[in-house]
């Protein structure tokens, strides 16, 4: 499938809503006797709503194109006596509109009556309850008895999948689900079938949803005005109250509306906040993956390991013990024997206090977070390339840019799975005609929407980018004025590009010269948005590839241009915030380097203490130090390294050598089981604080419920711990922590009120130039005949990261179709396996067994292993090597031997 376009049927497509735009002369018209002036491009409905008049609607949604299907928004033009659907009628000069004449009301009542005649009388048991728009509209119009013969529909509910309950007998054909599917999510799983009275929203050949392209994002459920589409859940009925907050899964930072009943979060929907990054959309995780909040594995009491078992203790005892043992370790073995693992899932304030405890009280810089495993070290290089302001130079910011840019280059990323809401932006851009080039060894879902797919051989991306740059330079289609004004070292760069042997590169990357030329032609003279994912950030030659991409960005002038630049999918909600707050070994809050004396002095003054000057250990080096025995204590907040990091047995052994493991977390997970002290924290829905999403948007959380049992918000735990560790007058509340952060970092000073938009942005300094970096080609691993195949490891939309939280969802667990090891049909034939057979993958460090899923989009010789599944089995294959070290083979691919395995349950 290529670019899908929106086919519009039924209502006309007039009255586009105006967005921005130039100066247009306002028009005046009268609504209900009041003279108003408005933009001529507004629809009557928008003009009326803007001026405080209410008009009932069913098929209208502000994010969708006007459709005019339900006709409930009828208004009367007084001069002509015409009845018009307000949503699809443009406002015009001198109109005299009445929204509530007896004639209008009578027509509306008739329309609702006809809808109700074809609607089952099941309102009492309907899960939509009082949120049903049809019911609200009928009630407001006073339509109780309809006095029409009922015309029940014979549609049977579709209830095969664990997420969405489709009862089309309640469908009023407003087309919202279809339009949301086509216009917002761009999946195309459903469309109308038949016409007139037989019409209904159908899947292809009426297959159940899971057999279509449906990704179960639940957007259709959220926009459905009736009970035709509802969430399948163990909880029944409408929630008692709803609370808007920010999703705690990936770095897109969607605004959520959590439904709460009896102190439990029973459902999640997109919030109606119009400025949110997600609008009316969410993904399957955001909509259905929050079941972990009520999991029986939630930690509810502090625990200390006594005689080998974790036993519940009081908070006082747990924190006293933690403080005592940390201080003992510091005294006996020095500050470097302790390490702190902060969290890319916890709030800014928590991360700030966490690293402050480590640095100011225990005097160690051994601080990291799981952002390491997401390729943070590589991003750091971009940062350093431009005196620490790389983020503001190269990073594009708002995702909306992806729908406005000239073209998009997606490399080593599959946002339709890893960050679905970002994927919607890309797909919507593609529908608008923005060319997309996808560079990926797999034919990802996004490749279906792309103009060009380059199936690069894994690990050779840098060479591919160099070749494209060389061709662009050959065509002279680069941004000459940008290169002259803002870069240096161009001559040398151009010379080394010219000396490249393109035939050799074609052979190495597996891409034909024609495809390269096509790519260069697409890119030339354009400003580019780069979407760079795990495939690059965790790869063996990641640094070479990122440098090649930075050079390409400079060559095409795709820097500091609206929408252009780098979009790095942040896999976790607060990866950026944890980084900014200094939960990393080499930088203080504000990303100021530890070994920068000035920066250190600034924080020493703020904290009134001396700070260690030497950068600390990162995540992998912490594990290595534990193996060597030089690390004695590890304090982990909200991370599950035993599930997320490679080589679980090795980690287990390293952890066993530690004298003290303190884990502050929400779920009884693999790491908690190995802890000496357990501190139960709060999930994102149970606390206040702020997250920074991948765009740099600072968003505030709102607590929807209380933490379960004795669990406490993480910030409270850290505050008490700081006191126990002997902190001098530590900040005691969230407000005080915020004030302290804002005192030094003015960027983070605005304490955004809920809903208010705050961005971490900074104007670029003018006048400076950025150097081109020298061309480095990728090192190629010598193929080992014992491991002839290549496993590619990637994310899938049903699990976030290692799946610690998402695997707690029974609904996601019940739905397992997307999982399994993807194998090309040719290979399946060769290995004599078919769908559902077990195969064993063996690499140098470990092996795993999994079910085969034959995937036509795979290339022969490659298999794809999903992250998150089966206790994140993919981690067994890769070696725990420091990412970006010159000898590291990377974490995204791995040579393996594939054998058919005996049938057995795993």
């Amino acid at each position: 499938m290529k670019l899908p376009a929106i086919v519009c049927r039924g209502g006309s497509r007039t009255a586009p809503t105006i967005k921005g735009g130039g100066l247009v002369e306002a028009i005046t018209l009268t609504i209900n006797g009041k003279t108003i002036s408005c933009n001529p491009e507004l629809s009557l409905l928008d003009a009326a709503l803007q001026n405080g008049f209410s008009i009932p609607t069913l098929c209208h949604h502000p994010d969708l194109k006007p459709f005019g299907a339900c006709r409930i928004c009828l208004v009367e033009e007084e001069k002509t006596g015409r009845l018009m659907a307000a949503c699809v009628t443009p406002a015009a000069q001198n109109m005299v509109i009445r929204t509530d004449t007896p004639r209008v009301l009578s027509h509306r009542r008739n329309i609702v009556s006809l809808m109700l005649a074809a609607h089952p009388e099941s309102c009492i048991v309907c899960d939509k309850g009082n949120r049903c728009r049809l019911r609200q509209v009928a009630a407001n119009l006073g339509v109780g008895e309809i006095r029409l013969d009922p015309m029940p529909s014979d549609q049977m509910p579709d209830q095969l999948n664990p997420f969405i309950y489709r009862d089309l007998s309640k469908c009023i054909l407003c087309g919202k689900c279809i339009r949301a599917d086509h216009e917002l999510v761009v999946t195309g799983a459903i469309d109308y079938s038949f016409r007139g009275i037989r019409a209904y929203p159908a899947t292809i050949q009426d297959k159940p949803l899971e057999k279509t392209g449906c990704t179960f994002c639940g957007t259709c459920v959220a926009v459905c005005p009736t009970g035709a589409l509802t969430t399948r859940s163990v909880y029944k009925g409408v929630p008692e109250r709803e609370v808007d907050t920010v999703c705690g899964f990936c770095g897109v930072g969607c605004r959520l509306r959590l439904g709460v009943t009896g102190g439990l979060v029973i459902e999640a929907n997109p919030s109606t906040d119009t400025k949110s990054v997600n609008g009316a959309t969410l993904c399957v995780r955001g909509h259905f993956g929050h079941d972990y909040l009520n999991s029986s594995k939630r930690l509810t009491r502090p625990m200390i390991r006594k005689n080998g078992d974790l036993e519940p203790v009081s908070w006082e005892e747990a924190l006293q013990e933690t403080a005592h043992r940390l201080l003992m370790l510091k005294e006996q073995h020095g500050p470097k024997s302790i390490a702190f693992l902060g969290s890319s899932k916890c709030t800014n304030e928590e991360n700030y206090l966490f690293q402050k405890i480590a640095r100011s009280l225990l005097k160690t810089n051994n601080i990291d977070n799981n952002g390491y495993a997401m390729g943070r070290r590589l991003l750091n290089c971009i940062e350093k390339r431009t005196d620490g302001s790389g983020r503001f130079h190269f990073f594009a910011g708002s995702l909306a840019g992806l729908e406005k840019i000239d073209m998009v280059l997606v490399i080593g990323a599959d946002p339709t799975h890893s960050m679905p809401v970002m994927g919607y932006y890309l797909k919507r851009g593609a529908v608008k005609g923005i060319p997309i080039i996808v560079v990926d060894p797999r034919k990802t879902e996004l490749a279906d929407y792309s103009t060009l797919w380059l199936p690069v051989r894994p690990g050779t991306d840098a060479d591919l980018i160099h070749a494209i740059a060389a061709l662009i330079l050959e065509q002279k289609s680069h941004d000459i004025s940008f290169v002259e004004r803002f870069t240096e070292g161009f001559r040398g760069y151009a010379d080394s590009l010219a000396s490249l042997d393109l035939t050799q590169i074609c052979k190495k990357t597996g891409i034909a010269i024609d495809s390269l030329k096509k790519a260069a032609a697409l890119i030339g003279h354009k400003k580019i948005a780069f979407v760079v994912g795990d495939g690059i950030l965790k790869q063996r030659s990641g640094l070479e590839a990122v440098e090649a991409l930075l050079n390409l960005a400079m060559l095409t002038g795709s820097i500091a241009h609206k929408g252009a630049g780098f979009y790095i999918p942040a896999k976790e909600n607060n990866m950026i915030g944890a980084w900014d707050m200094g939960t990393i070994p080499d930088a203080l809050p504000g990303r100021r380097l530890v070994d920068d004396r000035e920066a250190r002095m600034e924080w020493e003054k703020a904290w009134q203490t001396e700070l260690p000057a030497e950068p600390g250990m990162d995540l992998v080096h912490m594990i290595q130090a534990a193996e060597k025995g030089t690390l004695k204590g590890l304090f982990i907040m909200g991370e599950n390294p035993l599930r997320s990091l490679p080589q679980p047995e090795r980690l287990q052994a390293a952890f066993a050598k530690l004298d003290l493991i303190v884990v502050q977390d929400i779920l009884l997970n693999e790491t908690v089981s190995n802890a000496h002290i357990v501190l139960p924290g709060a999930a994102f829905s149970e606390k206040e604080g702020a997250f920074i999403n991948m765009e740099g948007r600072l968003q505030n959380l709102t607590a929807a419920v209380k933490p379960p049992g004795d669990a406490r918000p993480d910030l409270d735990i850290l505050i008490t711990l700081a006191q126990k560790l002997g902190a001098n007058n530590p900040p005691a509340t969230l407000t005080q922590v915020r004030a302290e952060i804002g005192g030094v970092l003015s960027l983070y000073a605005p304490t955004a009120r809920s809903g208010q938009l705050v961005w971490i942005q900074k104007r670029m300094r003018g006048g400076s130039t950025i150097p081109f970096s020298p061309i480095r080609t990728c090192s190629q691993e010598q193929p080992d005949p014992a491991y002839p195949h290549l496993a590619v490891i990637g994310s899938q939309r049903y699990h976030l990261g290692s799946g610690t939280r998402t695997s707690q969802s029974a609904r996601i667990g019940a739905f397992n179709t997307g999982c399994g090891i993807a194998v090309a049909p040719e290979d399946a034939l060769k290995w004599d396996v078919t769908d559902g057979d077990m195969i064993q993958l063996t690499s140098v460090v470990g092996s795993l067994k999994g079910k085969v899923r034959i995937d036509k989009k795979m290339q022969p010789g490659l298999v794809w292993v999903p992250l998150g599944d089966n206790s994140n089995m993919a981690r067994c294959l890769i070696g725990l090597t420091p990412l970006m070290d010159s000898d590291s083979p990377g974490w995204n691919t791995c040579p393996v031997l594939i054998e058919k395995a005996e049938e057995e349950t795993i």
Binding site: M1, K2, L3, P4, A5, V7, R9, H182, T187, G188, A189, I190, D191, Y192, S193, F194, R195, A202, T203, I204, Q205, T212, G213
Partner: protein, 162 residues
């Protein structure tokens, strides 16, 4: 008798030849309908791929128009008019006669794929009411003997073909 085999090569050639813009969907569907007598459900996805549409959208267009069918139809498609004028002139009785004669209900196709019976809301020939069509041929001012004659004629033609 089995439904006609699908000539995939022919189908692919048709799709290739019409592989243009999205507006080409209906002409392409008409070509396929004409060549095969129906639009094979398996062809929906290749068509969608070729034109850059979602398969569900293609299915939506096919099911919207009564001129397209996703199931194999008979060699002769009988459309009996039940619109207002024909109804007044006894169109329902004509339909009943045809049903009895062919032993088919509305929308059904005979097991030998010779006849398909449909009722339609208007054939646009009200002056000739009651009317029906066999494939693209009109028959007006119908009466029971005339219907019998028509069915007899096409029945024979069907047999001769075999």
């Amino acid at each position: 008798m089995k439904p006609p085999e699908i000539d995939w090569q022919k189908l692919n050639t048709l799709i290739e030849s019409r592989k243009t813009e999205q507006w080409g969907l209906i002409p392409l569907l008409q070509d396929i309908q004409k060549a095969f007598g129906f639009i094979p459900p398996e062809s929906v996805e290749p068509i969608a791929d070729a034109l850059g549409l979602f398969p569900a959208q293609v299915q939506g267009v096919i099911t919207f128009y009564s001129g397209f069918s996703l199931a194999p139809r008979g060699k002769f498609v009988l459309r009996v008019c039940c619109g207002t004028a024909c109804h007044v002139k006894g169109g329902r009785s004509i339909l009943r006669l045809v049903q009895q004669d062919l032993k088919l209900k509305e929308g059904e196709t005979s097991p030998d794929y010779q006849f398909t019976l449909e009722s339609v809301a208007c054939l646009g020939a009200c002056a000739l009411a009651p009317t029906m069509m066999v494939n693209r041929e009109y028959f007006g001012r119908l009466s029971p003997p005339k219907v019998a004659g028509i069915l007899n004629y096409f029945g024979k033609e069907a047999q001769e073909e075999e």
